[in-house]
């Protein structure tokens, strides 16, 4: 993780911003995946049709 952070371009403040954006994006993707998996396989709300 630290190595990946150091590979980011630009000054430290820019790397922090980019890293934060990447983490937020990955988290959003992960939660969207969890949502989809849960809805398809676990519990879609029980509505008919």
């Amino acid at each position: 993780m630290i190595r990946a952070f150091r590979r980011l371009p630009g000054p430290v403040w820019l790397r922090v911003v980019v890293a934060a954006l990447l983490v937020a994006g990955a988290l959003a993707l992960l939660l969207a995946g969890y949502e989809w998996l849960g809805r398809v396989f676990l519990d879609d709300g029980g509505m008919m049709g």
């Binding site: 992960l30 939660l31 969890y34 998996l37 849960g38 809805r39 398809v40 396989f41 676990l42 519990d43 879609d44 709300g45 029980g46 509505m47 008919m48 049709g49």
Partner: protein, 249 residues
């Protein structure tokens, strides 16, 4: 190899924690706001008293029901509701004549009513709509079906595992159990008459029938969206019960 296994474990653990715990927090937060919103709607919404005429286009209830259920609207209803820890059904707004207490459904996602079924541990605020966004907030009323307490069949769906699992223990409902649904038109009492398991595509259970009915649907079995557990109840008390009692065939 070790890192791959560890990552998989963390992802799976995260999935379980998110589905069973985090989504419940989302639903609980939404319910806190919805309960206040429902109280506000009940205190301000106008109830329409409209002439009642049975709809000749409605079909009779299609399932043969078990015998031995108490008579709808019987004198023992108040005692039965009290014994079940439920609020009393709202008395008829007018003489038990041809006047119906009606309401306009709220917009999607807004609080419609409060459903209580102590036998299954259910006490949730119901929102209008059954889309994913609505069902994340609580149980949802299916648009196009009757509103609770109105003639026809009011269909309410809810999660069984995630988002607070409002209908987690719906399988514990048995014929004779009492349900109340409180809306802006009052408190309507229903009596469970049947439970069944169907495929999600069997939309006949949402059909509109003669009388007043309530159909609750959720996923079945638990932890699977493969089938639906359906509980059907008939209207036995409330402002409209004298007019639109669900007839048992």
């Amino acid at each position: 190899m070790g890192i791959a296994l560890l990552s998989t474990g963390v992802l799976l653990g995260g999935f379980v924690a998110y589905q069973l715990w985090v989504t419940g927090l989302f639903a609980q937060g939404a319910q806190d706001g919805l309960r206040a919103r429902l109280d506000e709607r009940i205190s301000t919404a106008a109830v329409d008293l409209v002439p009642f005429a049975p709809d000749p286009g409605l079909a009779p209830f299609p399932i043969a029901l078990p015998a031995g259920l108490a008579s709808p609207g019987g004198a023992d209803l108040a005692a039965a509701l009290e014994a079940a820890g439920l609020p009393p059904a709202t008395p008829p707004a007018a003489a038990w004549g041809a006047v119906l207490s009606a309401e306009v459904p709220p917009p999607a996602g807004d609080a419609l009513g409060r459903i209580r079924l102590p036998a299954a541990g259910i006490d949730w605020t119901v929102v209008e709509g059954v889309g994913p966004a609505e069902l994340r907030r609580g149980a949802g009323h299916m648009p196009g079906t009757a509103l609770p307490g109105q003639p026809g069949n009011a269909v309410i769906s809810g999660h069984r595992t995630t988002y607070g699992a409002p209908f987690e223990r719906l399988d514990r409902a048995t014929p004779g159990d009492l349900i109340t649904v409180t809306t802006t038109t009052g408190t309507h009492a229903y009596q469970v008459v049947q439970s069944l398991v169907v495929a999600p595509t069997e939309i006949w259970v949402t059909g509109q029938w003669e009388g007043g009915w309530l159909t609750l649907t959720t996923c079945h079995p638990r932890l699977s969206a493969r089938q639906r557990l359906v509980v059907v109840a008939r209207l036995v008390g409330g402002p409209n019960a004298g007019l639109v009692v669900g007839e048992v065939s």
